[in-house]
């Protein structure tokens, strides 16, 4: 194995994944969000740029690219400028272990699930220091809320991942998809884990009803209040990349990954992923925001014990059946 070739391959794949994310996740995701939001609230949503408003996000992106980058006067500039990069790169790294098809995976790590959880946990560093470096009390509050929330929900998320890994007998994402070919989709076998994963994933990506870090009615925009132009767009990109990564991981872990009849694997994968994304958006536009104490209680008093008990039950079934 030549190292030069490996580096070229890594750079090429990074560009490929980044382009995929920017187009499929961020641009289409934002459009989808606005369209679905409009549909749920009996509005039309974006309609004027391009046919049926299809080019709205492209126009928005071009606008953001042209905008001036403003750093607040008393901000910690170095950290302020780095924070969006941490969020975007962490969101990007999640995708290394997502299998789009039998051979369409950047790298099938044998610790795939652990890697995914680790990269997802890096996002919070970017959000926290972004909120800190803005030198703005609303940003700081948003960052702190985000930290407490994401740390709390990492644990239920991990319990769900552990239960699935136990059932499949492997940590590799490819191995988990193959295990589901024999035992049926884990959404049936591991239904409690599926529910815990979805709730925790929604909280991890800071979406309604868990969007306290950026609650616009209390905190302006939370941790990215002070960000403008492309750095703001990077935060958005990271957030959507993370959300789509969670949807892709749910597909891989619980919905049989790319497997399905007739249609090619990639189409099946994208269909299932967008189904989960739709579910997340549906939740966003129909539920009100939780209070901070409700949010923490849900994680520590309900989801975490439920997850631990479910691990116990899974272990029991694996041992005796």
């Amino acid at each position: 194995m030549s190292w030069g070739l490996e580096i070229v391959k890594a750079v090429g794949l990074t560009i490929a994944v980044f382009t995929f994310l920017a187009v499929v996740a961020a641009m289409l995701g934002v459009l989808l969000e606005r369209k679905i939001g409009g549909w749920i609230q009996s509005r039309l949503g974006p309609k004027h740029v391009g046919p049926q408003g299809l080019l709205q996000t492209v126009a928005d992106t071009i606008k953001l690219l042209q905008k001036e980058h403003i750093a607040p006067r008393a901000a910690d500039t170095a950290i302020f400028n780095t924070a969006p990069l941490i969020v975007a790169v962490a969101g990007l790294l999640d995708w290394i272990v997502i299998p789009f098809g039998p051979n369409l995976i950047v790298r099938d790590l044998n610790i795939g699930v652990v890697f995914f959880a680790a990269m997802a946990s890096l996002t919070v560093v970017g959000i926290l220091v972004g909120g800190f470096a803005s030198n703005n009390k609303y940003s700081l509050l948003g960052g702190l809320r985000s930290a407490s929330q994401m740390i709390s929900y990492e644990l239920p998320l991990a319990t769900a991942l552990i239960a699935v890994a136990m059932q499949a007998g492997t940590l590799s994402t490819l191995g988990i998809v193959n295990a589901q070919a024999q035992r049926g989709w884990f959404v049936f076998l591991q239904f409690p884990a599926f529910v815990i994963f979805l709730i925790a994933a929604t909280a991890e990506v800071n979406r309604v009803p868990f969007d306290l870090p950026e609650a616009e009615s209390e905190l302006v925009a939370g941790y990215f209040s002070e960000y403008t132009g492309m750095r703001f767009a990077l935060f958005q990109l990271g957030e959507y990349a993370e959300m789509f990564a969670m949807a892709a991981m749910a597909t891989t872990l619980f919905l049989g990954g790319w497997r399905g009849p007739i249609l090619p694997p990639v189409i099946w994968f994208l269909l299932k992923m967008y189904l989960i994304v739709f579910l997340l958006m549906w939740t966003r536009w129909t539920f009100p925001r939780l209070r901070l104490d409700q949010l923490l209680n849900l994680s520590w008093k309900l989801l975490l014990p439920a997850g631990l008990i479910w691990i116990l039950i899974t272990g029991f079934f694996i041992t005796f059946f």
Binding site: I79, N110, I111, V125, F132, G143, L144, M150
Partner: protein, 163 residues
């Protein structure tokens, strides 16, 4: 060749950010510099083919511990972290102490015989670690969890008393 280059780059990242951790006047920057330090160490673990340890390192240290430290700083220092004095006047003394320790360590490590593992490394370390923790090392494992439980309860009691 590639492995050596990777080792040098990872060590440089680890050491450079570790120096920032120690010397920076701003405690938040120190805490934030822990992230590249931990990630560099993670890379070294991967070079040693301990990929499970590497994953856990990112999850626990870079993801959780750093955030915990930042969280504590922001809650206690009014969110700025600038009021805490980070350095004192004993820099020359500590450089001397560090240099002596380094000479001693290099001396000892250069003389120590390093036996190589007889068999090949296992392909999949996660299950090996799990098995070891629940068979030969079960006592250590249980005692560690007990210590963590006590720490958790202690934290709750300390926090409650302040009310």
């Amino acid at each position: 060749m590639g492995e050596l280059a990777a080792f040098i780059i990872l060590s440089a990242i680890t050491l450079a950010s570790a120096v920032v951790v120690v010397t920076s006047g701003n405690i938040v920057r120190s805490a934030l510099s822990l992230v590249p330090t931990f990630l560099g160490v993670t890379g070294l673990y991967i070079l040693l083919q301990a990929e499970f340890v590497a994953g856990i390192q990112v999850l626990i240290y870079a993801g959780a511990i750093t955030v915990l430290i930042l969280f504590v700083i922001m809650l206690t220092e009014g969110g700025t972290g600038l009021r805490v004095r980070q350095t004192n006047e004993q820099v020359p003394l500590s450089i001397l102490a560090a240099a002596v320790l380094a000479v001693l360590l290099v001396g000892v490590l250069a003389q120590a015989p390093w036996p190589r593992a007889a068999e090949l490394l296992p392909q999949y370390t996660a299950s090996g670690i799990g098995e070891a923790l629940l068979t030969n090392l079960v006592l250590v494992f249980e005692v560690t969890s007990l210590v963590l439980l006590v720490a958790l309860m202690g934290a709750i009691i300390v926090a409650r008393r302040e009310r």
